[in-house]
């Protein structure tokens, strides 16, 4: 039996963590993640979970403690945002390199400087090649559902990789939405008992984590590591299929919205997809064939599947909530461009940067982009590949 509640995104994910009851959580407060771990700390204090909550002096220590706990043989979760994720950077690669299935909620927030506590995606985008699986979530329901599925994905014996569950700071983390909770026992049963692989606390069988590997073997180790990611999409789909059975909610590698017969399309991550879908509907009512694609599994990126879903379009705009300095394009644009490169006939592809540092992304911004795409289709010309929307001149 599901329970319908009105909660913030952080509260929803804190409840997912309560239902899963990891062995160890180590976290450090940072806006807008703080509310998540504050609520989870209450569950610990109130005796609702037996999780060992480790209070640390920084995010670098938080993830280091998670690495230790996971290598010891525990189910481990943490959460962070922005500068906190940046401070974890060194340990991100160690977590994935040692194949430790840590789950981390990343409540997306802009990076300094200038300091800003509001939403954009530059934090998680900076960590996109760290070897963590990334699941992105449009709303509180998806954040909750992804958090539950993340443990099953991370702990799958075929992959054993850490997972980030990304959702938009404040817009989702602090806004109250209607969501459906699954029953505690259904979630517990779904994630199942944790099966450690090579636990250090199994002292009868000593082992070494993180050995020194030099020129003679490092490249083989990295090549072997890259191979594991090929198995991720099928694990994500299998877990989604099982999740649908307990929740009735369907998940894939990405979501398409009115895309099949579309001529122009939008690619957008997280909460802005909700706004964009409304505007897609308005244009569909006017007879304009526009559709949308919202990636869910961003790392590893499903290049083949996304390229296949977009190749028939005439013009596509990739909306990036993170900029790339140094004359480059937004990170999502680069991956979409790569996914379309193998096709000889492919859509015109433009990149629009929006919503940095929590700047509102309004329906009129979506309409503006759709008008641009219409013009590209009509004239066959792209005037500018990368621009910023919603910025004052």
């Amino acid at each position: 039996m599901t329970k319908v509640v009105a909660v913030t995104g952080n509260e929803a994910v804190a409840n997912a963590f309560r239902q899963i009851e990891p062995d160890v959580c180590a976290a450090y407060p940072i806006t807008p993640q703080t509310e998540l771990m504050q609520r989870f700390a209450s569950f610990v204090s109130d005796g609702k979970v037996k999780t060992e909550l480790i209070l640390v002096e920084s995010e670098h220590s938080a993830l280091s403690a998670c690495v230790g706990a996971a290598a010891a043989g525990g189910r481990v979760a943490t959460a962070t945002s922005s500068q906190g994720l940046a401070l974890m950077w060194e340990i991100l690669f160690i977590t994935s390199g040692m194949r430790l299935p840590v789950v981390m909620a990343v409540v997306n927030r802009a990076l300094s400087a200038p300091i800003n506590i509001h939403c954009d995606h530059s934090d998680a985008m900076g960590a996109r090649d760290s070897g963590w699986i990334q699941l992105w979530s449009e709303n509180a329901q998806e954040a909750y559902d992804n958090a539950i599925q993340a443990f099953r994905i991370a702990e799958h014996m075929d992959i054993r990789l850490p997972v980030m569950v990304c959702y938009d700071g404040f817009i989702i983390s602090h806004s109250i939405e209607r969501i459906e909770y699954l029953d505690d026992d259904i979630v517990k049963n779904f994630v199942g008992e944790y099966k450690p692989l090579y636990p250090l606390l199994d002292i009868e069988n000593p082992k070494s984590y993180g050995p020194l590997i030099l020129t003679d073997l490092y490249m083989e180790v990295r090549r072997a590591h890259a191979e594991v990611y090929k198995k991720v999409p099928q694990v994500v789909l299998k877990v989604a299929e099982e999740f649908e059975k307990i929740s009735g909610r369907k998940y894939g590698l990405f979501e398409t919205y009115r895309l099949e017969d579309a001529e122009i399309g939008l690619v957008v991550l997280n909460s802005a997809a909700g706004t964009a879908k409304d505007v897609v509907d308005e244009y569909r009512d006017k007879g304009i064939k526009v559709g949308l694609i919202k990636p869910r599994l961003f790392r590893p990126f499903p290049y083949g599947e996304i390229g296949d879903a977009l190749k028939h379009l005439k013009a596509v705009c990739v909306l990036d909530r993170a900029d790339a300095f140094g004359g480059s394009f937004g990170p999502l644009y680069l991956d979409i461009a790569t996914s379309l490169y193998p096709y000889s006939i492919k859509p015109a592809l433009i990149n629009r940067i929006y919503g940095l540092g929590g700047r509102d992304f309004m329906p009129e911004h979506v309409a503006y982009v759709i008008e641009e795409l219409k013009k590209i289709v009509e004239t066959g010309k792209v005037e500018s590949f990368k621009e910023y929307i919603g910025v004052r001149e």
């Binding site: 090579y198 000593p206 082992k207 984590y209 590997i213 003679d216 072997a224 590591h225 191979e227």
Partner: protein
């Protein structure tokens, strides 16, 4: 040598004590020399050696294990010697 398909998950090494196979003595640029007549067998060198390269037998200090001695010189620094004469001195490694 191992190919990439043989790499264990996370490069976790399941064999205990495998560091013995990695003979770090080849890193040495300076080599400690033990001068037995100056040795009071206090075993400070054994205590401080980061590589277990000082051998002890029957409570007495023995020779260096040069398979693992990196020549860091900590033993020579810590050695109190006898009447101001060090029982361990560092000498340039000769090929």
């Amino acid at each position: 040598m191992m190919g990439w398909k043989q790499i264990p998950p996370g490069m976790v090494i399941l064999e205990a004590g495998s560091a013995l196979k990695f003979k770090t003595g080849s890193w040495r640029a300076f080599k400690p020399r033990w001068i037995e007549e100056n040795c009071i067998h206090c075993l400070l060198c054994w205590l401080y050696c980061p590589d277990n390269a000082v051998k002890v037998k029957d409570g007495k200090r023995g020779e260096f294990d040069f398979d693992y001695c990196k020549g860091c010189g900590i033993c020579a620094l810590e050695c109190p010697g006898k009447k101001g004469n060090k029982a361990i001195v560092m000498e340039e490694e000769v090929k």
